[in-house]
Every structure is written in structure tokens, then in C-alpha cells.
């Protein structure tokens, strides 16, 4: 896919980590963009539009994740996606 590539490092601060609910909000948002979205935890790199792969990262609180978006709307996508990944879900 052509277009820009943007990267952002995000630290998970939700007390229960990146579990199903934050993941599904992130994927719903990612699906609104055409660009490829990938999320990496160290060497483990997965499709950011796949909830099952994101669950498999087991991102506990304090985990640093690298977000990368590539494609025609990458510039518009990077900020909202980074914010969604960093969002805190305190009460579940």
C-alpha cells in the first residue's frame, strides 16, 4: 500500500491491561481507516485490525506497544489510534 508511514509508542496504563473491551474499541476505530495498522510488542508484530491477535499480545499495564500505520489515510489515523490504544478503562 502506498502512502505515509507513521509510528507511535504507547504505554498501556489501564489497570487490567489491553483486554477485550479496549481492543474492540481500537479495532472498530482501525476498521474506519484504509491504512494498514500494525501493533508490536517487542519483536511480536500483529495486525492491528485483528482483535484475536491483539488479545494474544497480552499487554498488561506498563507494556509498551509500537503502533505503525501505513497507507493513504495514515496521517489522519495515527493520532486517534494512538489515543484509543492509550485509553484507560478503570472500572472493569
Amino acid at each position: 500500500m502506498t502512502g505515509d508511514t507513521h509510528r507511535r509508542t504507547v504505554t498501556i496504563t489501564s489497570p487490567h491491561g489491553l483486554h477485550l473491551r479496549p481492543i474492540s474499541q481500537f479495532v472498530e476505530l482501525a476498521n474506519q481507516y484504509q491504512c494498514d495498522v500494525s501493533v508490536s510488542k517487542g519483536p511480536q508484530r500483529v495486525n492491528g485490525k485483528s482483535a484475536i491477535n491483539l488479545l494474544g499480545l497480552a499487554a498488561t499495564p506498563g507494556t509498551q506497544l509500537d503502533l505503525e500505520v501505513t497507507g493513504p489515510d495514515a496521517t489522519q489515523a495515527i493520532d486517534p489510534l494512538a489515543e484509543a490504544l492509550a485509553r484507560v478503562f478503570p472500572d472493569d
Binding site: 483486554h19 477485550l20 472498530e28 485483528s50 492509550a86 478503570p90
Partner: protein, 592 residues
């Protein structure tokens, strides 16, 4: 009779006939297809996935309406998982090896569930139930068969299962299901959360027991103690019927307390307030008849942002609290976070070897003045619209308090110049949560309007014990004599201020003291705290009815007696046993 022990996740007691739900139930009829059928098989799978996703979305709408959005969100996640691009790739790969769609789905999902279960962290492993749930949803579409579902119940039962998936739990009708008990599942599982929401007693993580059961055995689920009793004997049965009645009466009584004041039998009024983290929680306080918000923790304004919150965001949150609270007071605590907790700090601090003794809370604010002043401005602006009070956390020296007040004065001056309204007499308080502050309470009292004793940190710092570290957690208890003495000393220092002083503040000056740590929400400490002279307690909203009940059952005379006796005891164990005993004498229901 057989007794099984598990994890209590939703309180209450139920007695009834057992219904065993077999969740393994779907049998895969056929594993292979002919090579030529691959295309058709993929199409059949696509249609089933679309239908299952649609069903999950419909369920989401139903649950949104029935229980609220945060619960429906689970099914939005299911819809996403059903059509997950990576899972579909894996199903297709198996179909390409001439497997049926059913087999592919079952294999792939079970492999992922197993991988999730092997993850170290409990909150992730419990999510495998969600995967089994979507497996069933897809298979149901593929096989077209209707299973005996829980929503078709005719008479009340107690549901026993290996594991209940979230949609099975949500389909339970509380009128027809008295309780449930499962072999697996953890405290953080969706099933546990939903059971609490539906207010059905539930015990999970019981280990294998289903194989021991025949059809219509009678069982008892004790959701308070985490116990399942199979085929109870007559004595046990009677005991539990009695317990059920006691619990019912007690809950009704607590509900009736809502509009009654927190007042002792001999007429001493206590301000019973709620602790909150989010503006929406004010409603939880109001629902239980709180006298106000005794501790508004503001950390969450900072935590979920890519930039620090601006003044407007602060003001919006504070105004939302004031709108729900009416004329009742709210104590806003300024930022109480460690440097390590900021995801979005531009300057990365060096990693601290001992963060709880490091640059955190007020220490951090005093080094980040722009950040601090933004919050102070917002608190002052909100003070024009309600009974707002400001409180500084983790003060350990008089100098720190003076610095805070100086900065507050500067911000007030700025607002004056800008002609922005605020309460010039905004009450200023300090947390007493560091032993040095407790020891210097007399001096601190001269310069503030109120104290709030934060027992969580006070205990941790006094006993040098981190309560989340289980190897030293036995040291961490509010009943430790050292903690009691510090609290007594702080109250005495505040009361000394209330009498005519030499500081020019006049004879009417009072320094209020409240306790806002978890100690204040534990009923065994209520008599002690009243007896020590506390007239203000701030507790988690759900603890309000119980604490109010203790207050309304006690007299000040006996509370003083309890405090005097407790202060003479030498060990935490003696103190806690004594307090439990004295509380049990007036209100046995609240002592576990």
C-alpha cells in the same frame, strides 16, 4: 451431602433444584469435504459468520438497554471476533486442506482459547470463555440446530455448569435462576461481573463437580462464602433458610437507611461522605444518602490523555460533580500520582528505585508548577458554584504546605486580576498520610481548615509495609497500635486548634478531621473512630449503608469506651479481635 469450595463472586444465598448445563455439547458431524466443495464451504462459512455477527450485534442492543452500554460492549467485541480477519484466514487455510467449516472453526478457536488460557495474567486467561461463546455462535449458524437454552426455562433452578459464557449469563432470567455455580472462571471474568450486576448469587472456580451430579439434586449456593453444597442434609438446609431470611431483612434495613441521618443513638451527628474517582459516581453517593463527597480523586483526568488536561477539562469534570451534588460539599484532592504513572510526561524521569518514597503526588506538583496551577485555577473557578474544598495530598512537611498555599494565593491573585469569580474563603485542607505529618499535626493545623487522614498510605508508611506485597501484608493493618496512636494524636491536635488559640485566628476556629482511607469503610473500625473523636468519615459509596447502620446502632459513650480500651492494647491482633468483638455485640451482621 457434599461441600465444594470455590470463589465467591456475587453475594447471597440460594437453595433450589440443580440444572446442569453441558457447554461442551456441540458435536462436529463431519471433518472432511471433497476437494471440489471448498468454494461452497467457504461461502457457507462466510454466510454463517455474517449471521453470527449480526446476532451478536442484536444481542448488544438488547443488553445495552437491559443492563447498560458497558455490558453490551462485550457483544460488540464478539461481533468483531466473529469476523476477525486473522481468524478467517486460519479457517480458510483449514478448508483448503479439505476440512469442513465446522471443524475449521472449532479447531482454530480452541487453539486460540488454549493459547489465551496459558497466558500468565488472570484477566486475559478468563477471556477464553468469550472465544467458546463465539465458537458456539458460529456453530449454531453452521449446524442450524437449536440447543436447549437457558432462556427457555419454565421453573426456577440453580444453574451448574463447567463455565457459563457471557451470553449464557446475560440470558439468565433472575426470576427463574436462583444462583449459579461453575467449575471454572475467575473473579475478573465477565460472568462474575454480570452475575453481580444481575444480583444472582454466584460461585465460580469450584473445580470438577459436575460428574458427581445426577438430574434433580437439590443444591445450595452460598455466594458470601464461596461454597456449593450438593444434597444438603436437613440441618444444613434449615440453617441456610434462616441465613436467607437474615440477609433479606438486613438488606431491606440498609435500603431504608438512605434518608436517615448518620447519627448515633445518643444524638451525635456524623458526616458520612463518599469517595469518588469519576463525576458519574456522585450518583452512587446520592443514591445512598451521602452527606457529600469527602474525597474526589482527580488522577483519572490525567491518565487517559495524550496531553495533560487543560483548565476547561478540569472545570467540566468539577462542574459535573457539583451539578449532581447540589449544595453538598465536595473535597477535591489535587493530583496524587507518581512520576512513573504518567504515560504522557514529556520529560522522562529517571527510574526510581523506590517510587512510593520518591517524586510523587504533591512533590511532583511542586516541581511541575504549570500543571499544578492549571488544576488550582479550575478548582477555584468551580468554587464559585458550590461547596468546593481543596485538599493537598502527601504533605510531609510544613514547608510543603506553605508552598502549596503560596501557589494557591498566586493563582487567586491571577483570577482576581482577570475578574474571574471564585470563593475567596475556599477551605484548604491537607491529607495526613505520612507519619511526619501526623507527628506535626499541631503545627499543620494552624495553617489549614481541615485534615483528612489517608489511612492507606499512613499504614503503609508507618509500618513500612506494602500491602500488595503478600510476604509482608500481615504487617499492614489499620488496627496496629502505632496507627491508632497517630490517628488519636492528629484528632487531638485538630481539637486543640478549636479552642481559643494564640495564632490570631480567633476563638471560633475549628479544624475538621475526617478519615478517608479504607479503614473508614470497614465496620469494625467505626466505633473506634467515633470514640477517637472523628465526626466525619468518607467511604466507598457501597460501604455507606453499612457504616451508617453501625453509627445508628452505637452510642458515643460506648464508642469512647471502645477507643479508650483499644488504645491500651499492645498488638494489632488484640486490637482487631477486640474491635471485632465489640462490633459483633451491637451488630453481628456486619462482622465477618
Amino acid at each position: 451431602m457434599e461441600i465444594k469450595r470455590g470463589i465467591a463472586v456475587s453475594p447471597g444465598v440460594a437453595i433450589g433444584p440443580a440444572l446442569v448445563v453441558d457447554t461442551e455439547g456441540y458435536r462436529i458431524p463431519q471433518r472432511f469435504i471433497d476437494r471440489g466443495q471448498r468454494g461452497d464451504e467457504r461461502a457457507r462459512l462466510r454466510a454463517a459468520l455474517a449471521a453470527a455477527a449480526k446476532e451478536a450485534q442484536a444481542r448488544q442492543d438488547t443488553i445495552n438497554q437491559k443492563l447498560g452500554k458497558q455490558y453490551g460492549a462485550i457483544f460488540a467485541a464478539h461481533a468483531l471476533l466473529i469476523e476477525d480477519p486473522e481468524l478467517i484466514r486460519e479457517y480458510d487455510a483449514l478448508i483448503d486442506k479439505n476440512h469442513t467449516a465446522e471443524y475449521a472453526v472449532s479447531q482454530v478457536i480452541r487453539r486460540h482459547a488454549k493459547a489465551l488460557e496459558s497466558l500468565v495474567s488472570a484477566q486475559f486467561s478468563t477471556r477464553s470463555a468469550d472465544l467458546f461463546d463465539i465458537e458456539k455462535a458460529i456453530l449454531r449458524q453452521l449446524l442450524g440446530s437449536k440447543s436447549e437454552e437457558l432462556k427457555h426455562l419454565k421453573e426456577p433452578v440453580i444453574v451448574l455448569a463447567h463455565d457459563l459464557t457471557p451470553s449464557e449469563t446475560a440470558a439468565l432470567d433472575p426470576k427463574l435462576v436462583y444462583a449459579f455455580a461453575t467449575e471454572s472462571g475467575g473473579r475478573a471474568s465477565h460472568t462474575a461481573i454480570m452475575a453481580g450486576m444481575l444480583e444472582i448469587p454466584a460461585v465460580v472456580g469450584l473445580g470438577r463437580f459436575l460428574t458427581d451430579l445426577s438430574g434433580a439434586d437439590e443444591v445450595i449456593v452460598d455466594g458470601n462464602r464461596g461454597v456449593l453444597i450438593i444434597d444438603p442434609d436437613e440441618e444444613t438446609r434449615e440453617h441456610y433458610i434462616e441465613t436467607q431470611q437474615t440477609i433479606g431483612t438486613f438488606l431491606r434495613e440498609l435500603g431504608e437507611l438512605r434518608d436517615l441521618p448518620a447519627e448515633t443513638k445518643d444524638g451525635v451527628r456524623v458526616q458520612l461522605m463518599g469517595n469518588i474517582e469519576f463525576p458519574q459516581e456522585v450518583q452512587h453517593c446520592q443514591d445512598r444518602g451521602a452527606d457529600g463527597v469527602g474525597l474526589y480523586r482527580t488522577e483519572f483526568l490525567y491518565l487517559n490523555k495524550t496531553a495533560d488536561p487543560d483548565e476547561g477539562e478540569h472545570v467540566d469534570a468539577y462542574m459535573a460533580v457539583l451539578r449532581s451534588l447540589g449544595s453538598k460539599p465536595v473535597v477535591i484532592r489535587t493530583l496524587d500520582l507518581g512520576a512513573d504513572k504518567f504515560a504522557n510526561r514529556v520529560e522522562k524521569h529517571n527510574e526510581e528505585r523506590n517510587p512510593s518514597l520518591g517524586l510523587r503526588s504533591i512533590r511532583l506538583c511542586l516541581r511541575s508548577l504549570a500543571l499544578f496551577k492549571t488544576q488550582l485555577r479550575a478548582i477555584l473557578r468551580a468554587s464559585a458554584y458550590g461547596d468546593v474544598r481543596i485538599m493537598f495530598p502527601m504533605i510531609s512537611t510544613l514547608m510543603e504546605l506553605r508552598q502549596c498555599k503560596l501557589i494557591l494565593a498566586e493563582v487567586k491573585e491571577d483570577l482576581e486580576e482577570e475578574n474571574i469569580a471564585f470563593n475567596r474563603k475556599l477551605p484548604v485542607g491537607t491529607m495526613i498520610e505520612v507519619p511526619s505529618a501526623a507527628l506535626m499535626a499541631r503545627e499543620l493545623a494552624r495553617e489549614v481548615d481541615f485534615f483528612s487522614i489517608g489511612t492507606n498510605d499512613l499504614i503503609q508508611y508507618t509500618l513500612a509495609a506494602d500491602r500488595t506485597n503478600e510476604t509482608v501484608a500481615n504487617l499492614y493493618t489499620a488496627g496496629d497500635p502505632a496507627v491508632l496512636r497517630l490517628i488519636a494524636q492528629v484528632v487531638a491536635a485538630a481539637q486543640a486548634q478549636a479552642s481559643p488559640g494564640d495564632n490570631g485566628a480567633g476563638p471560633q476556629r475549628t479544624v475538621e478531621v475526617s478519615v478517608c482511607g479504607e479503614m473508614s469503610g470497614d465496620p469494625i473500625y467505626t466505633l473506634l473512630l467515633l470514640g477517637l473523636g472523628l465526626r466525619q468519615l468518607s467511604v466507598a459509596p457501597q460501604n455507606i449503608p453499612e457504616i451508617k447502620k453501625v453509627i445508628r446502632t452505637a452510642t458515643l459513650t460506648e464508642a469512647k469506651d471502645v477507643a479508650a480500651a483499644a488504645l491500651k492494647l499492645d498488638t494489632a491482633r488484640d486490637v482487631n479481635n477486640y474491635l471485632r468483638d465489640r462490633t459483633r455485640r451491637i451488630l453481628p451482621e456486619v462482622v465477618s
